[in-house]
């Protein structure tokens, strides 16, 4: 049933949504439009004047091996963060749901990482993995591994994936746990009487019933890995070594603010914007409509 508020003053509804619209315009539409404008301009070497170059900035991007490489890195990074984050938190949520229905200590502990600022999370994992004194680094050294994520690109990727995943696990966990607890217990019992063992119950009953949550979280996690891991990467690897952890967002910032290539940076952010819009469309179309049983 639809519940609608009826306003007697014609202007009141507009007045009420005005602040929200103002915020959206000032913090989203205006910078976005600036990025679009900037992406078709090129500045001279001294930043004093700019001139129109059409799609040249974009064309240059797709000829830039570093940019194409950044795409690959982002794809790898977001796939790892999303699958690891979802996998681990699903296991945690299933365990929590089964063993200690509603035990708050467990939940509280698992929620902490979410409250930690990205830069702090980065610093924290930086210590753990710090070549030499870091706990993890020390353990690896004991096993004879030559560990230095400041020099080894693969190791650097490993570290940022761990830090970024760790931060997102709580969020995923909460949604999975809520999703699991919303599944009527009698459904699981009916399946048990029907002869399904726990593993089979998970695949044939629990997971399908969790699918709306799962698809929602996939989109959220991809968006997170794409855009919200800047702080983690900045504090751990700064995109290095040799740009091996330079994801798209990091490159936008680096090219714009460090390399002072505003046009190229703007073009990259326009592409990122297109990706976000794409993901949002997928979320609305696919998830809200199709993934309902």
């Amino acid at each position: 049933m639809e519940k609608r508020v009826v306003f007697h003053n014609r202007f009141l509804p507009y007045l009420l949504v005005a602040p929200q619209i103002a915020i959206t315009v000032i913090f989203f539409f205006w910078p976005a439009s600036q990025a679009v404008v900037q992406s078709v301009l090129r500045e001279d070497a001294f930043g004093t004047s700019s001139y129109f170059v059409g799609m040249e900035n974009f064309a240059a991007l797709f000829e830039d091996d570093y940019y194409l490489n950044s795409f690959k890195i982002t794809a790898l990074f977001s796939t790892l963060v999303t699958t690891l984050g979802l996998g681990i938190s699903l296991v945690l949520a299933v365990t929590a749901d089964r063993l200690i229905r509603g035990a708050t200590i467990y939940k509280t502990l698992l929620i902490w990482p979410y409250a930690v600022a990205p830069a702090v999370a980065g610093a924290l994992w930086g210590f753990v993995f710090l070549p030499g004194p870091g706990v993890f680094a020390w353990l690896l050294a004991q096993m004879g591994v030559d560990w230095n994520f400041h020099l080894n690109g693969g190791q650097a990727m490993f570290v940022v994936v761990v830090a970024a995943t760790w931060k997102q696990i709580s969020y995923n966990f909460l949604f999975f746990l809520a999703g699991l607890q919303a599944i009527p217990k009698s459904l699981i019992e009916a399946a048990a009487i029907d002869g399904a063992k726990p593993f089979r119950r998970f695949w044939t009953i629990i997971l399908p019933m969790l699918s709306p949550t799962l698809f929602f979280l996939i989109v959220v996690n991809v968006v997170y890995a794409f855009f919200e891991t800047f702080g983690v990467i900045h504090s751990l690897t700064r995109g290095g070594p040799a740009k091996s952890t330079e994801i798209l967002v990091y490159k936008v910032w680096y090219d714009g603010f460090e390399a002072q290539d505003l046009g190229g940076s703007a073009a990259q952010s326009v592409i990122l914007m297109a990706i976000v819009i794409g993901l949002t469309v997928i979320q609305f179309r696919y998830i809200e409509r199709k993934v309902h049983y």
């Binding site: 009916a190 399946a191 048990a192 009487i193 029907d194 002869g195 399904a196 009953i205 019933m209 049983y293």
Partner: protein, 357 residues
């Protein structure tokens, strides 16, 4: 098919004692109804038979096998849940065949069984639908279908009709009865609705706070309630209870209200609770001596009958009289009791007192 035997079955949830020790022998093919108010432990008892709750003490036997430590799947039972517990992402066909698929039956065998069950339950047109596309009654039937395709030895029902509207409930009740006559599978059925219990049961188990107060046929339970609790729970409106002192073959309610007792009752003098069903009283005919005078507070019109609510000797009393008798609020009819149908209970323990005679 199988008999089910419960011996001293107890259940504790931590310090809470939910079931205090139930003994019961369910015969092969029998339809047993466990009835009692909400919270008395009906579901707990049923779920222990199903294997969904651990048994704290005692044994449960299905057939000749003690099943205390046997998984629900291995007990050869099927259960129908109150909320139906249909798998929402599966079609009706998939719901009904899920258990068979897990047990590795052949496609042809599954097809035959599902089609036969669908035919019995008139579900053929809906086999490809999802549960959310069905009405409440149809979902209920799917839940039953899922139970019968497996051809288990025991059916367990936990309030399967309580989510349906009154009319559908009566209809489904009949269908369940018919189904039982057709299949003859041992059934244990839980309900809080005494009408459902009386109409379905071969034998009733009346539960009272974790104990089985009485196990018997509907007639037996109605005519010879073992406790005041059973007397009050079975029958609608509920049995009236009057405290009295019995002496020299008479029941004395107050100094001026004295009732005769059936000839031949031999009970020791003492304090008792006298049970009188509302339908075992009638209006005194002209010239007949009334046993009691009822001060009617409210006359409740039911159509065929009228319920007269009032007081006798300071105690609440309900009487069912034919509507045409024409009594109304604040009238004062004289009543005659069907003395042969009096029930006598011990005042302290509430247990039925044998009245040999």
């Amino acid at each position: 098919m199988a008999k089910v035997t419960l011996k001293g079955v107890k259940k504790n949830y931590g310090p809470v004692k939910a079931i205090h020790g139930v003994d019961m022998e369910i015969k092969d093919g029998e339809f047993i109804v466990i009835v009692g108010p909400s919270g008395c432990g009906k579901s707990t008892l049923l779920r222990m038979i199903a294997g969904l709750e651990a048994i704290t003490d005692g044994t449960i036997q299905i057939g000749d096998r003690v099943v205390n430590n046997i998984e629900p799947a291995e007990r050869d039972i099927a259960m129908v849940f109150q909320n139906y517990a249909l798998y929402p992402h599966m079609s009706v066909y998939e719901n009904m065949s899920y258990g068979l698929r897990i047990r590795g039956r052949s496609k042809a065998d599954i097809e035959t069984r599902v089609q036969r069950a669908a035919e019995i339950l008139q579900l053929q047109p809906y086999l490809q639908r999802k549960p959310r596309e069905l009405s409440g009654g149809q979902r209920q039937r799917v839940a039953m279908g899922r139970a019968i395709v497996r051809e288990p030895s025991v059916f367990l029902f936990d309030e399967p009709l309580s989510n349906l509207d009154a009319k559908l409930r009566v209809q489904m009740r009949l269908e369940i009865k018919r189904l039982h006559q057709q299949l003859g599978v041992t059934s244990v059925y839980v309900t809080h609705d005494q009408v459902e219990a009386m109409t379905l049961a071969d034998r009733l188990v009346v539960m009272n706070q974790g104990r089985a107060d009485q196990i018997g046929s509907p007639q037996d339970v109605y005519n010879h309630p073992a406790t005041t609790y059973v007397g009050g729970f079975i029958g609608s409106p509920a049995m009236n209870f009057l405290t009295c002192r019995i002496d020299t073959g008479q029941a004395k309610l107050t100094d001026d209200v004295i009732l005769p007792l059936p000839a031949g009752w031999s009970v020791p003098a003492g304090e008792y609770s006298l049970g009188i069903r509302p339908e075992n009283l009638r209006i005194a005919r002209a010239g007949e001596t009334a046993h009691l005078q009822l001060d009617v507070d409210v006359a409740e019109e039911l159509g065929a009958d009228t319920l007269l609510h009032g007081k006798i000797a300071g105690e609440e009393m309900v009487v069912r009289v034919p509507s045409h008798a024409g009594f109304h609020d604040h009238s004062r009819p004289g009543l005659v009791i069907d003395i042969e149908r009096l029930h006598l209970f011990d005042r302290e323990s509430g247990l039925r007192v044998a009245t040999p005679g």
